[in-house]
């Protein structure tokens, strides 16, 4: 989460004070990303150092000091919005590792392990959905945040479903590997944080 760029985005609407930026940041992210005012001021100082925002020179540091975005700041924001995050290498996913490990532990029913995680994820999704049902009609930012979280959890459940099905099929029709015919692809698992 780039606090830096979120603050730049808020400043595109006009000059603002630090405290105001903090309140608007929290409100626009559906109040699910807490941000302390110290973080806001540290980030603003760095943005000013890099020439991406300007402040009222005359004002003392503190709640009354206003900030505005510079042309360089607008360009930086525009570039960041269009730069895809790094999703190229597989993340180090604890759940994937647990399922892979479960396959190797004697006496462990991997389907039962998968179901424990599936149930937990569905329960989490139920909580997010209740939040959407209760609040999101009135708060578009929150609705978008909740949707993102639901889609993320849903994709993990889909992977569990696919793993469950693949393991069931593999148990029914054990494969006969031919090491010479199937070169191993080395994945750089764990490169990305």
């Amino acid at each position: 989460m780039s606090v830096r760029h979120a603050l730049l985005a808020l400043l595109t609407e006009g000059p603002k004070y630090g405290l105001q930026l903090r309140e608007e940041f929290v409100a626009r992210t559906g109040e699910v990303w807490p941000l302390n005012v110290g973080q806001v001021y540290t980030t603003l100082q760095r943005l000013e150092r890099d020439g991406l925002v300007e402040s009222d020179d005359a004002a003392e540091p503190g709640p009354q000091k206003g900030f505005r975005i510079t042309t360089d700041g607008e360009q930086e924001l525009s570039g960041w919005l269009r730069t895809p995050p790094d999703l190229t290498s597989p993340p180090r996913d604890e759940l994937v590792i647990k399922v892979l490990v479960a396959l190797r532990v004697p006496g462990t029913n991997v389907h039962e392990v998968i179901q424990v995680h599936r149930r937990y994820l569905v329960e989490l999704m139920q909580q997010w959905t209740r939040l959407k049902e209760d609040e999101a009609d009135f708060d578009l930012g929150l609705a978008l945040v909740v949707d993102a979280e639901l889609f993320r959890l849903d994709s993990v459940i889909r992977w569990l479903d696919a793993a469950d099905g693949r393991l069931k099929r593999a148990a029914a029709e054990p494969a006969t590997p031919d090491p010479a015919a199937t070169p191993r692809i080395r994945l750089k698992v764990g490169v990305r944080r």
């Binding site: 599936r118 149930r119 329960e123 999704m125 959905t129």
Partner: protein, 240 residues
């Protein structure tokens, strides 16, 4: 009050080596005011559970109670009457009659049950109005969008004295926003006292339910526990 109860229900198709156990001693009860989602892979018995709960098919073993009454003790005519009066069905492909308007489709179960046409239409309009479809009442199904058709189907399922709603992939063909509004409507109907069983393979849709039951190979493999309120999501803690 329990509106639907399946007690040790099994369903076997075929005989001999071709025998398939679609359901294997499944027990499930659904209270008034509660929405239950049933999830599971293809062939896990989800749809069979729904057709047996709706008295469209008989179990091989076990008993189904709807509003406290055992289906096995009813004649075919009594079960048909129960379906018309008490149970609403929602299917993926809407199942609206193309030659009838939205209002006529919604009023149909009541008319078939002997309610006077005028009274049935008034109840139908009330159901459409609840789903913000009053201005679509005179439209034929092919004049409605997919989302509107499914809302008409839900209105038909909720019309009159229907208390139990059974839905099989009710938002299968819809985009995510329309799918969400379908689930929201079903959940709202349950909060007003209906009971619903929704079969789906989609976790996002299942998460609208108060309880999610997981079927596997015809058995209830697991179910969700009551969850704490959503406010706990906003307080980072252990495990998050």
């Amino acid at each position: 009050m329990t509106l639907l109860e399946l007690r040790d229900v099994s369903k076997v198709y075929g005989t001999g080596p071709a025998q398939t156990h679609a359901l294997d001693t499944v027990s499930l009860s659904v209270e008034a005011g509660s929405m239950v989602a049933v999830m599971g892979p293809s062939g896990s018995g989800k749809s069979t559970l729904l057709t047996i709960a709706g008295s469209l098919e008989d179990p091989t073993d076990g008993e189904v109670f709807v509003d406290g009454a055992a289906l096995s003790g009813m004649s075919r005519a009594q079960r048909a009457q129960l379906r018309r009066r008490f149970i609403g069905f929602v299917f993926q492909d809407y199942n609206l009659l193309p030659g009838l308007t939205a209002a006529e489709n919604v009023a149909l179960p009541l008319e078939l049950d002997g309610t006077a046409v005028r009274k049935a239409r008034i109840a139908g309009m009330a159901a459409l109005d609840e789903l913000d479809l009053a201005d679509r009442a005179d439209h034929f199904p092919d004049e409605l969008s997919g989302g509107e058709r499914q809302r008409v189907a839900i209105a038909r399922a909720m019309v009159g004295q229907h208390r139990l709603l059974l839905a099989d992939e009710p938002s299968g063909a819809l985009d995510s926003v329309n799918a969400e509004s379908v689930m929201r409507l079903i959940h709202t109907a349950c909060k007003r006292g209906m009971a619903a069983v929704v079969v789906t393979h989609d976790a996002q849709l299942a998460s609208w339910a108060d309880r999610v039951v997981f079927l596997r190979d015809g058995r209830v493999a697991d179910q969700t526990r009551p969850t704490p309120g959503p406010e706990t999501l906003l307080t980072p803690g252990p495990g998050r």
